[in-house]
């Protein structure tokens, strides 16, 4: 290093001969693919071709280097083929980390589970985390450094980047800009601090298209400085959500919140003395949290603020006074939570109300912010755009962001970007932004990276790689190392060095190993702080009353960063079971008013900007309010995400990030210039559920806590029970195990994590939009959604996960002509793929319709990178065979074998099915019914246990616990 510094001022050209450059020549040459359009590389190729030909001739005279291959005579410890290892690491979403455990087969990560020791996970995950393993193996990931679109090398990039760095360093960093998402990694923060201290004129900009901008602004408005709010939903009797989707995947701590919330309900169901919680939700766009509410108040998103204000003042209509009364009766045990997308004033009101209700320190905890240096990101990006336009930006490095696609439309980011003379993009894909940069560097996936990050409560997790970067990807640490002139230092060294500094004690090695092993760094959660008295800013001018446009990240693919993920694209969105599309959500009443129907193509105009999209009529959507989801209409996402849905970002302006006024809303014939949908009947969506109601049946049973405690058997009326002696044949006696499952509908929030977890565990193929629209999706577990009450304003949205019931009297087994589906002596209804000839009779005879058929060759047998993601314990099915939920038989057998080897009985809870393990609310419980002390056996003894279609005498092994709610009697009367 010192050598470089000495040489530094003599000539920039000499910098090319840095160690990085030498290293590249030595190490990376073999991977180089010469590009014939690049005269430089062609020449170099020919030179080396000649040289190697010469050497080949010479090799006969040269002693070959001795390279010994060594078989595993002594196998490395813990490295047993067929036995997976689990490593703790953490996945960061929008800067906030969640601890995960990753299953690895012989060095190949295959499945992600939550880390039970991590406070944000407690063993569960959301669907984004589940699907992130597919991202690792995405064949469309960027695989090489690119310069002006041509293949280049990391060494070349470092060279060029170092030159820019040095040019900027001459001006104390002026002209050098870094754009990243939110950051919580302590190591990266330290690196940045070091760099910006040395280059004070250089600037760091932050941009998360769907970040928590308003949460921050709300905290600043109320307290004058940003605070992080943590909620204790397990302590709250009354929760008022002001458009807050806190059960939603993607919200920091969302998985934990869902667990806390469900735990509380479960307790109230099991114990008549426990006080059941109550949830009020005021919202305009149906969310899963709204679906769980006892009372959902449908209102335009823009009206939530007025609703919040009248809650705070306590004056207003009957429903306001009822809620206020309820809140005041539960002082210190209530929560008022404002939605991430609500304006800052709503947040300030929520802070003030929580303070007034004495909730602070009990159900609402304030801490320092998780993200480093939280700023108004819209302003931050705006500043960057202004400077780019003014020519003040000479070097721009964008790490893990895609602003060309997702920046507010009025910034005209691309036009500004083109004015930057040197721009580089570090990303997992060569996306819309990477396409417009001089340099592109493949980013390392988090499963390939060393790093660290903070959870929603400040807990730090170390991120350790499960696999060496498949495409030579680099982390942000390595980029900053180049800036810090430590280009030779790897991410591992950087992270370790940082922690060594933090923990200089002699037991560092122990600390390091323990932290890696546990997945959390001990005692790093933030301490509670007490913010000052919350101030509520004055009410703004009354919001317009016309049609509003609400922007939301998509429930399945987020803000667009997951659009090339087939599992997420094919995941039915909880609210409307739609896959592979976004839509313009509109309420049935508004649809009638504006004379549009499902599939109509509409053009929305807001402040002179226009987008077109197809209409989806959404029960529960507020009238005069339309919702569009961001994240679709990508053009450089990859083979999965390109051209799926329509892009709503062009309508989104920096001054109306979440809600805008629509000046125009009219029906058009076509979607846009790229794709035409002039077909009759409008745009065709691919949904997995077409019937919205239960049609005079009762697959989903619900009651109130009060009803339940007075009539415990309400969910299982006498006439649905078929007595044991019904059949001529005696019941089979299960001598060893008798597997069963219980699904608690009181706990299930309908988040779909189980669906994606099942896809990941069981090698379930992605079939694509066309096949889904036919009804050929392959999910082994589905989450049925039924509305109750009027379709315009449903009283409740009910979610019911449906895996295979593993019926005792399985109808499918009866009709299979070749005995390809049979009952095991442990009660599993097994599917023998090898024997299946594909008559599909079993599916016809399955009253639950949980069987899935490979109508075509759905499994991708040809994309090699996808081989990696497959679970080696589960057969990859071919065309023409039936498949269905197996209760994760591979997991059962793995535990059975282990127990057998140790000559011990299987412990309850030792076998977790994939859906159960992922479930944030732990609504799914699997176990042995022969063990009277197992959790599942106890749950099934609860009086609210009922079997789906039990009256058919199928004797299902998967049974349900009826949903219990706690409506406010004052509101019920009204």
């Amino acid at each position: 290093m010192s050598q470089i510094e000495k040489k530094y001022w003599r000539s920039l050209e000499e910098l090319a001969e840095t160690e990085e450059f030498r290293k590249f020549v030595d190490d990376e040459f073999p991977n180089r693919k010469p590009d014939w359009n690049d005269p430089q590389s062609r020449r170099r190729f020919l030179t080396l071709m000649g040289a190697s030909a010469m050497l080949a001739g010479a090799s006969s005279c040269v002693v070959q280097p001795k390279e010994t291959i060594v078989p595993y005579v002594r196998q490395p410890e813990d490295f047993i083929p067929g036995v997976p290892l689990f490593y703790a690491t953490a996945m960061t979403q929008q800067g906030v980390a969640t601890g995960v455990l990753v299953e690895s087969h012989l060095g190949r990560p295959t499945k992600i589970e939550g880390n039970p020791r991590h406070p944000a996970s407690l063993g569960a995950t959301d669907h984004f985390t589940q699907a992130s393993i597919l991202e690792l193996y995405d064949p469309d990931r960027s695989q090489t450094v690119r310069r002006n679109g041509y293949i280049s090398t990391w060494g070349d990039f470092v060279n060029a980047f170092a030159r820019q760095r040095d040019l900027a360093a001459l001006k104390r960093g002026a002209g050098l800009r870094i754009l990243t998402g939110s950051i919580s990694s302590p190591t990266l923060v330290a690196q940045m601090q070091e760099f910006f201290a040395a280059n004070p004129e250089a600037k760091w900009h932050q941009w998360e298209p769907c970040g928590r901008h308003n949460v921050l602004a709300g905290s600043v408005a109320a307290f004058g400085k940003p605070y992080n709010t943590i909620y204790r939903f397990d302590q709250a009797n009354v929760i008022v959500s002001l458009d807050a989707d806190f059960l939603c995947a993607g919200m920091p701590g969302g998985v934990r919140y869902a667990r806390d919330y469900a735990e509380r309900r479960r307790k109230a169901a099991e114990d008549a003395n426990a006080k059941p919680p109550r949830l009020y939700v005021a919202e305009g766009t149906p969310s899963i949290t709204g679906g769980m509410a006892e009372h959902r108040f449908r209102m335009r998103t823009g009206e939530v603020e007025a609703f919040a204000a009248s809650l705070e003042s306590g004056a207003g209509e009957a429903r306001i006074s009822a809620i206020v009364k309820d809140l005041q009766a539960n002082r210190g045990a209530s929560i008022v939570i404002a939605g991430e997308h609500q304006p800052p004033r709503v947040h300030a009101i929520a802070h003030a109300m929580n303070a007034a209700l004495g909730n602070i320190g009990k159900t609402v905890i304030y801490t320092d912010t998780v993200e480093y240096a939280p700023v108004d990101q819209v302003a931050s990006l705006g500043e960057l755009v202004r400077d780019m336009n003014s020519g003040a930006v000479e070097t721009l490095v964008m790490i893990g962001v895609n602003p060309v696609y997702d920046a507010p439309a009025d910034f005209a980011f691309l036009d500004a970007l083109k004015k930057v003379p040197w721009r580089a993009h570090v990303g997992l894909w060569v996306d819309e932004t990477g396409e417009w940069c001089h340099w592109h560097v493949p980013e390392a996936h988090y499963l390939e990276s060393w790093s660290d990050g903070r959870a929603y409560d400040g807990t730090i997790s170390l991120v350790q790689p499960l696999i060496a970067p498949i495409y030579g990807g680099k982390t942000a640490h390595e980029i900053f190392n180049v800036l810090l002139m430590r280009g030779d230092q790897t991410a591992y060294q950087t992270v370790r060095a940082y922690w060594q500094k933090q923990h200089p004690a002699s037991d560092f090695e122990d600390f390091w190993r323990t932290s890696l092993h546990e997945g959390v760094v001990e005692n790093t959660a933030y301490r509670e702080t007490t913010p000052p008295q919350a101030k509520v800013p004055p009410a703004p001018a009354a919001a317009g009353s016309g049609l509003e446009v609400v922007f939301r990240p998509d429930p399945a693919i987020g803000d667009g960063r997951y659009s090339n993920n087939g599992w997420l694209q094919e995941m039915p969105k909880p609210q409307n079971k739609m896959t592979w599309d976004n839509a313009v959500w509109i309420s049935p009443a508004s649809a009638r008013k504006y004379k549009v129907e499902e599939g109509s193509i509409v053009e929305i105009t807001s402040n002179g900007r226009k987008i077109r999209g197809p209409v989806w009529v959404m029960p529960g959507q507020a009238d005069e309010s339309i919702t569009v989801h961001l994240g679709f209409g990508r053009t450089r996402a990859g083979r999965v995400g390109n051209g799926v849905g329509f892009n709503a970002y062009p309508l989104r302006a920096s001054n109306a990030m979440w809600t805008a006024q629509a000046q125009g809303f009219e029906q058009k014939g076509m979607l846009g210039p790229i794709r035409e949908y002039a077909q009759a009947g409008g745009y065709k969506f691919a949904t997995t559920q077409h019937t919205q109601t239960m049609e005079e049946r009762d697959p989903f049973r619900a009651g109130t806590f009060a009803e339940y405690h007075s009539d415990p058997r309400f969910a299982r009326p006498e006439e649905t029970i078929v007595p044991d002696g019904h059949s001529l044949f005696p019941l089979w006696e299960y001598k060893q195990h008798k597997w069963g499952m219980s699904i608690d509908l009181t706990a299930c929030v309908g988040c779909q994590a189980c669906v994606v977890a099942c896809v990941a565990e069981n090698n379930i193929p992605v079939v694509g939009k066309e096949q889904v629209s036919l009804g050929r999706y392959m999910h082994w577990i589905r989450v049925d959604r039924y509305y109750s009450g009027p379709l315009d304003d449903p009283k409740a949205i009910n979610f019911q996960p449906v895996p295979c019931m593993h019926c005792e009297n399985a109808l499918c087994e009866l009709v299979c002509p070749v005995a390809a589906t049979v009952h095991s002596n442990e009660g599993l209804n097994e599917m023998v793929y090898n024997r299946c000839v594909g008559t599909r009779y079993c599916s016809n005879n399955c009253p639950y319709k949980v069987r899935r058929f490979n109508f075509l060759l759905y499994s991708d047998w040809y994309t090699e990178s996808l081989y990696g993601v497959r679970n080696p314990d589960v057969t990859v099915r071919s065309r023409g065979v039936m498949e269905k939920c197996s209760y994760c038989v591979q997991r059962i057998n793995r535990v059975k074998i282990e127990a057998d080897k140790a000559d011990r009985p299987i412990q309850d809870g030792e076998i977790l099915t994939a859906c159960q393990q992922a479930c944030p609310t732990q609504a799914i419980v699997f176990g042995d019914l022969n063990d009277p002390n197992s959790r599942v056996a106890k749950l099934k003894k609860q009086p609210r246990d009922y079997g789906l279609l039990e009256d058919l005498d199928t004797r299902p092994r998967t049974t349900y616990l009826a949903r219990l709610t706690n409506p406010n009697p004052d509101l019920e009367k009204a």
Partner: protein, 472 residues
């Protein structure tokens, strides 16, 4: 036999003797034989041009079938419109429809033989051939519809090293036995009936290639009294053997549905109702084929209005049994008070509930209402009307299977899984392809094998027309 006689007048004209006679006047043993054999031994270019056109159309459809099947095997059954929950579609509809059509043949040849119905004679050979070809078409569908058709033999109980046998509780296994037995017995019956006629054909042109082939097929038949005595016994025995098959095959096919728990399938009335429906559609198909052939080959004096009228009456009768089946389904839906059963029925009939109500009402129109015209003797004797009704019944019976198979599957127990079925081009191509296969085989049969039983026609003549020839 005097085959040198100029019989062009005989070949090119015929007068229908009316609804009382099973054979036209003016036939003697020789002329009857000549007329029937003449259909086959007529010079190639003298084949009626309708036969050429008809065969060309059928052959084009055969090619369509081959293309459809090739594509199907290449891509998988996903090229059809079947989905979850409607996992059975056109393939099973067509299977049941073709099997049903086959039923007329066995009924005519076996049961009517035992009941000594003289009017069966002119049409039995024809309808037996129809049975065989229909069963061939039907038999292809269960194999084509498999997800992995190359493993179809796993449905057969063959010894193997894994000791894996078919699963005997599945109605599909019963199907395999029922249909294969049916096909075998039908073929033997048909072939046995042909032996004396093959001998006749051999004797007419003993030294030609055709004659030699017929000779081989005749298996040494000499027409001796001993031959005839044995022959009669065999034929009766086979008729007895086939009789239960008339009832059993379609009963077993109906078990595919009635054994399942699906509302709309799970019905005890299915076996008799399916058998009646099968005979109904079978007779409709015989009429649809016999009426044009009789005209093209001028066979009005052999297939007389008596035949047409008798078949019309059978159609009317079985149609009424089918109507009773429909009525019982409706009654049971109401009487059972079963949520699912009742919903399945409403789903079939009410436009506001289901999407396939039109199929149900169309089938009521074509299977119940329109055939009631056959009560009128005037309609029964109007050849065009009978032909039209027979076509309507064929379509109606196809719709009936569509309503049963598809409509029931669209909406069963759990509303979240309800779906819709949209047949694709390949569904239609396969269906029309098998119609092509069937017609092409029929055309070849008419051209190559005596389509009317010669020896039985002679027997009829012997009994009714020319008693003086007794002892010939």
């Amino acid at each position: 036999m005097a085959d040198e006689r100029d019989n062009s007048a005989l070949m090119d004209s015929a007068v229908d003797p009316g609804p009382d006679k099973v054979i036209g006047s003016g036939f003697d043993m020789g002329s009857a034989t000549d007329k029937i054999a003449g259909v086959v031994y007529r010079p190639f270019l003298k084949t009626p041009k309708q036969m050429f056109i008809g065969f060309a159309v059928a052959f084009a459809l055969v090619n369509l079938f081959l293309v459809a099947v090739t594509f199907l095997f290449y891509k998988g059954v996903g090229v059809w419109g079947i989905v979850i929950p409607i996992a059975w579609g056109f393939a099973i509809v067509n299977f049941v429809w073709w099997i049903g059509i086959g039923h007329a043949g066995t009924l005519i040849s076996a049961i009517l033989l035992l009941l000594k119905q003289d009017w069966r004679t002119s049409i039995n050979r024809f309808s037996e051939a129809m049975t065989l070809f229909a069963v061939a078409c039907a038999g292809m569908f269960p194999i084509l519809h498999l997800g992995r058709p190359w493993l179809a033999y796993w449905l057969l109980p063959y010894p193997n090293q894994m000791w894996l046998w078919p699963q005997p509780r599945s109605p599909l296994i019963w199907d395999v036995f029922a249909v294969s037995t049916y096909a075998t017995v039908s073929f033997i019956f048909w072939f046995t009936g042909l032996i004396p006629d093959f001998a006749t054909m051999r004797d007419k042109r003993p030294n030609t290639v055709a004659g030699r082939i017929y000779g081989m097929l005749a298996m040494g038949w000499r027409g001796s009294a001993r031959h005839w005595a044995r022959y009669q016994k065999t034929y009766l025995l086979l008729a007895g053997l086939s009789t239960p098959l008339v009832v059993s095959v379609h009963s077993v096919v109906s078990f595919d549905f009635s054994v399942a728990i699906l509302p709309g399938w799970h019905t005890t009335i299915f076996p008799p109702y399916f058998v009646a429906g099968a005979i109904y559609s079978g007779f409709a198909m015989v009429l649809s084929l016999a009426i044009p052939v009789r005209r093209w080959y001028h066979l009005e004096d052999l297939i007389t209005m008596r035949h047409i009228e008798a078949m019309s009456k059978v159609m009317l009768g079985t149609g009424l049994i089918v109507a009773y089946g429909y009525a019982m389904e409706a009654f049971m839906a109401w009487y059972s008070v079963g949520t699912y059963e009742r919903y399945a029925f409403y789903n079939r009939i009410f436009p506001q509930r289901g999407t396939y109500w039109w199929a149900y009402w169309l089938l009521i129109l074509s299977n119940i209402l329109i055939p009631q015209l056959l009560w009128s003797k005037r309609v029964r004797l109007n050849i065009l009307a009978v032909f039209a009704i027979s076509i309507v019944v064929n379509i109606g019976m196809w719709l009936e299977r569509f309503v049963i198979v598809v409509t029931s599957l669209t909406r069963d127990f759990v509303p979240s899984s309800w779906g819709m079925y949209y047949p694709t081009f390949w569904d239609w191509a396969t269906y029309f392809g098998t119609i092509g296969v069937f017609l092409a085989l029929m055309f070849l049969f008419i051209r190559g094998i005596p389509a009317i039983s010669i020896f039985e026609t002679r027997e009829v003549l012997h009994h009714e027309v020319a008693p003086s020839h007794a002892g010939d």
